[in-house]
């Protein structure tokens, strides 16, 4: 038989003014299992809490019901008090006599009657409470950062600078990401490389950062604090330790005519190459598809001429498994393939290009050394038309959302063009100009007012060629939707920002959810923007939604702090309000039948399969098991389970049934 104590709080007049607390205490004393019931002015006060502690000792209470304010207010307080009193904190329940009773009802017998019922519910519940202990999960204090763009770089540096080892994995041969391709950055027009490369170098020589470029995540197992990451290190076909990055191989490579991805195909590169001069690491990769040796078995020019003998044609991919405690997703974005714009004649007309190409044209380190020369004939275009929202906010193109950065970089492009081509004309077709951000609108105004960029509000219907010249056909909605046709030498499309092609696949590897556009989903749109709903996996940058550099860096630092916060604890402590699958002695082992219909009900992929084996090690039955590291305690699995084999600690079937039996 239980020994429950009931403690009724007056909360000054807040409760006592409406509810007859004495009557409630008297009624409580009559409830089976209740051995002690008192009322007091302020239970949460020191004397109040002392009263509770003493009663637990003197009356040998094994359960406590505090009838006071909302448990959302003081449950932690009184659970701590109960613990100090010498019982398990989870043997304490609260009846909400204030928010749910005295504050919302008139002073009346019915209100006191309700108060009594609310107490009875909790008394019946607490009689079925089991002592619960906080769950402690060990933490591997090493972070995995996926993606070596500015987001990944920032996150890696912040985590590493806090003294934690970081494994930074980048799929391409160099870190730097899109930002390394940019010429200048808005709204300050400082050169992208100048601000980025120091960070890249810092990553390379940081004692806490292990950098794996040209590598990919194959598999992620485990849970928060205890992940196992399987990483494929693709064969560069050179020995990175020996190579000193002298570059001879690149000069001597007989293959020369391979479109250079870094320059968006505006220039060529050899078959063995370093993506760009400032690449980190500054070590080449052999492009096996195009290497003469790999195609014909002959050549080996690089091998012959390499001063350090670093070439390894027989090098294979390597698989490594790393224990990590947290993961930061910083895999970035792609821009909409321009092949999506037949109406703008992309592919047909050489001089219709996308924003990235323009960045390379405008970049001092680019193929033209920063001179604006159009791809078709290398002439300097006298009139350039920029088309904003190319794909964005366009349901027909499957991108109803705003890509956020285009307004700003289009203004930047137009501005750069005006700076480089004096007397040239830049026209921008736009839907709206969205320049919310520090110094952003000022920046756009500058483009218009100081650099004389022409802004035409309207959509472009098509781009066609008229004896060798591009004609941009659109409307000017500000001139009452009148048709405008502009003859241009070059057209630049501000193509939409989209999730990476492998985003969905990656999300499934990591068990994180994603939105309809394959951007990774945050755990809560407002309050948990850098967390995923898989504990221990965090988000940084444009893999979550279109972002510009400042936002990306801010979010990356945010994610880094979350990781550091996690790593700052000796072990991970979690509330024991989690689901558990029943286990019993043989021959039953568990009431679970192993149908695993609960698996798809769990929002956290916390349900695993456990094979129960006999002494000879053969499997008797396979049943569900809840991973305490992942379970958040929602209980959705519990109500899915037909055999009632799963139960939720703290809200168990017995507890809730008991409450129902006392209504």
């Amino acid at each position: 038989m239980s020994r429950v104590g009931v403690f009724i709080c007056h909360c000054g007049e807040n409760i006592a003014g409406t509810v007859d607390v004495a009557a409630v205490a008297k009624a409580a004393l009559d409830m089976p299992g209740v051995v002690h019931a008192v009322e007091y002015k302020y239970m949460c006060s020191d004397p109040g809490q002392t009263m509770l502690k003493d009663a637990i000792k003197e009356k040998k209470l094994d359960g406590v019901v505090v009838a006071a304010c909302s448990p959302r207010m003081h449950e932690p307080t009184f659970r701590r008090t109960a613990e100090e009193g010498g019982i398990n904190p989870f043997q304490c329940e609260m009846a909400n006599l204030r928010e749910h009773c005295s504050w919302v009802h008139e002073k009346a017998p019915a209100t006191t009657a309700k108060a009594v019922d609310l107490v009875r519910l909790q008394v019946e519940k607490v009689k079925r409470n089991l002592p619960l202990n906080p769950i402690r999960v060990p933490i591997t204090k090493k972070a995995l950062v996926l993606g070596g763009g500015i987001a990944g770089i920032q996150a890696a540096l912040d985590i590493a600078n806090a003294g934690n080892p970081v494994l930074l994995v980048e799929q391409s041969p160099s870190i730097g990401g899109h930002m390394s391709q940019l010429s200048e950055t808005f709204p300050t027009l400082d050169c992208s490389q100048c601000i980025l490369t120091p960070r890249m170098v810092e990553v390379a020589r940081h004692p806490n950062i292990t950098l794996y470029t040209y590598s990919e995540l194959e598999k992620l197992e485990g849970f928060i604090g205890n992940f196992k990451a399987t990483i494929r290190r693709k064969a560069r076909k050179i020995d990175e330790k020996i190579c000193n990055g002298c570059g001879v191989c690149q000069q001597k490579c007989p293959v020369k005519k391979i479109p250079d991805q870094f320059n968006e195909g505006l220039s060529n590169r050899p078959a063995i190459f370093v993506p760009f001069p400032q690449a980190v690491p500054n070590k080449p990769v052999i492009d096996v598809e195009n290497c003469t040796y790999f195609k014909t078995g002959k050549c080996k020019a690089c091998e012959k001429l390499c001063p350090t003998k670093a070439i390894r044609f027989d090098q294979e991919d390597q698989i490594e498994v790393h224990d990590v405690g947290a993961v930061v997703l910083a895999t970035g974005y792609k821009t909409m393939p321009v092949s999506n714009f037949p109406e703008y004649g992309y592919g047909k007309f050489k001089d219709v290009i996308d924003g990235m190409k323009f960045e390379r044209l405008a970049s001092a380190s680019g193929p033209t050394g920063g001179a604006i020369k159009r791809p078709s004939d290398g002439k300097e275009p006298q009139h350039v038309v920029f088309i904003a929202c190319a794909g964005s906010r366009d349901r027909a193109k499957g991108v109803p959302y705003c890509s956020k950065i285009c307004c700003m970089y289009t203004a930047k492009h137009a501005m750069l063009y005006q700076h480089k081509v004096h007397g040239g004309t830049a026209t921008v077709f736009y839907m709206d100009v969205r320049a919310a951000g520090k110094n952003y609108d000022e920046f756009v105004r500058r483009a218009v007012e100081e650099d004389g960029v022409k802004y035409v509000r309207g959509r472009v219907s098509r781009v066609y060629e008229d004896n060798g010249q591009l004609v941009v056909k659109g409307v000017d909605t500000l001139l009452g939707g009148e048709q405008v046709e502009i003859r241009a030498d070059m057209v630049v499309l501000a193509t939409a920002v989209q999730a990476q092609d492998n985003a969905e696949e990656l999300a499934q590897t990591l068990h994180v959810s994603y939105d309809p556009y394959k951007f990774f989903a945050e755990a809560h749109p407002k309050l948990r923007p850098v967390e995923t709903n898989t504990a221990g996996i965090f988000l940084a940058g444009a893999c979550q939604a279109p972002r510009d550099i400042p936002e990306t860096v801010a979010q990356a630092s945010g994610a880094a702090v979350k990781v550091c916060g996690l790593f700052s604890q000796p072990t991970l402590t979690r509330e024991p309000i989690i689901a558990v699958v029943d286990r019993q002695a043989p021959p039953v082992f568990s009431n679970c039948v192993g149908c695993f219909l609960c698996k798809s009900a769990c929002p956290y992929q916390a349900i695993e399969e456990e094979a129960i084996k006999n002494r000879n090690g053969d499997v008797i039955k396979t049943v569900a098991k809840v991973n305490p590291g992942l379970c958040q305690g929602c209980g959705t699995c519990v109500s899915t389970c037909r055999t009632k084999a799963i139960d939720l600690q703290g809200y168990s079937n017995e507890q809730i049934f008991a409450e129902l039996m006392s209504i």
């Binding site: 409830m31 089976p32 009875r120 002695a585 043989p586 021959p587 039953v588 008991a658 039996m661 006392s662």
Partner: protein, 335 residues
């Protein structure tokens, strides 16, 4: 020695009315939507004089759910309320002789050591008027278990159909006489020998004595697994059976009050023997099927000197997978 009377077709009706007027309720086989149920009979027309009810009449003395006691909390004190068996005076009218006979098999258990007051109160207030069978089906096997379609055992009054219409009434007990007293004019003296419609022919399928002997050596025989392979392990057979006595005690309670109920249970159900430890001495369906057979045809004779079966065949008719008891017993009695 029983007194014999004649009752005309219309006499049956008058008798039922008379019984009703006497304050007794009349239950009997009644056709409801192609099913025969044991239900309240208001007049002779409602009586199903052919065929068998699906569920037996045992509910009159051993209901599927009955309350044994109630309690409620008054403050901290528990107030007990000993409920009385509401044993309404009842006449079970027009059931088959096999059903009538079944009450003995229940009686021996409910009065074995502890005398069950609920059962006894109901039995004492129940009078059985059976009608002899002139038809039988492929599930019937009363003749194999020491009975016959016109067996008077267990009937306070046995009615047998006359060729000329009406019935021969054999009044076997004082309960029976009490009914006669209710409607003297209905019971006409018997003119010489009664010309009865011949009783149904039920060919004996096995000899219960032989079966009992065979069972002694058959406990580990594969026949039980073979027979029970298709058995689903439901309780249909037990719950329609007129002699099955297994019950479960269930407490149903909330924070303020509670009651203790006795409900039908079945040894065919897996949970019947499941221990709290998780161990189940009769874990396999074959073991449970064997138990059913042995209980009725070995343990009963041994313990009560009577069979736990009256050969009514209700179980076979009710079975979703056609476990035909007669067949299976015949097989067990062989070899």
């Amino acid at each position: 020695m029983s007194d014999k009377y004649i009752i005309s077709e219309s006499g049956v009706g008058s008798l039922i009315d008379a019984i009703g007027k006497s304050g007794r309720r009349v239950l009997g086989p009644k056709e409801v939507a192609e099913r025969i149920e044991i239900a309240e009979i208001k007049n002779a027309a409602q009586l199903a004089t052919k065929g068998q009810s699906i569920v037996s009449a045992k509910g009159t003395v051993f209901p599927k759910v009955e309350r044994l006691m109630k309690y409620k909390y008054e403050g901290k004190n528990i107030v007990l309320d000993d409920v009385d068996p509401n044993a309404a005076p009842t006449v079970l009218f027009g059931v088959r002789p096999c059903e009538a006979r079944a009450f003995h098999a229940l009686d021996v258990v409910f009065n074995w050591d502890y005398k069950d007051k609920f059962f006894n109160a109901r039995l004492a207030n129940t009078t059985v008027v059976a009608i002899g069978c002139t038809e039988a089906d492929a599930s019937c096997f009363c003749t194999s278990v020491g009975s016959r379609p016109d067996d008077p055992q267990g009937s306070d009054i046995l009615l047998s159909r006359l060729k000329s219409g009406g019935y021969l009434a054999e009044v076997n007990t004082d309960k029976g006489k009490a009914l006669v007293a209710l409607a003297k004019d209905v019971f006409q003296p018997l003119p010489g020998v009664a010309d009865l419609v011949p009783a149904a022919t039920v060919a004996p399928a096995f000899d219960a004595k032989v079966l009992e002997q065979k069972l002694a050596g058959k406990f580990d025989n594969p026949v039980w697994l073979e027979q029970s392979l298709r058995c689903l392990g439901c309780g249909a057979c037990a719950f329609v059976c007129p002699t099955c006595v297994c019950f479960s005690i269930e407490d149903e309670a909330d924070a303020r009050r509670g009651e203790r109920l006795r409900t039908w249970d079945s040894c065919g159900l897996r949970l019947f023997t499941l221990h709290a430890s998780g161990h189940n001495p009769r874990d396999k369906q074959s073991q449970r099927w064997r138990q059913r057979v042995y209980h009725k045809f070995a343990y009963y004779p041994d313990r009560f000197k009577t069979l736990g079966c009256v050969g009514c065949g209700k179980c076979s008719r009710a079975c979703p997978v056609d476990m035909n008891l007669k067949q299976h017993l015949a097989q067990a009695a062989e070899g």
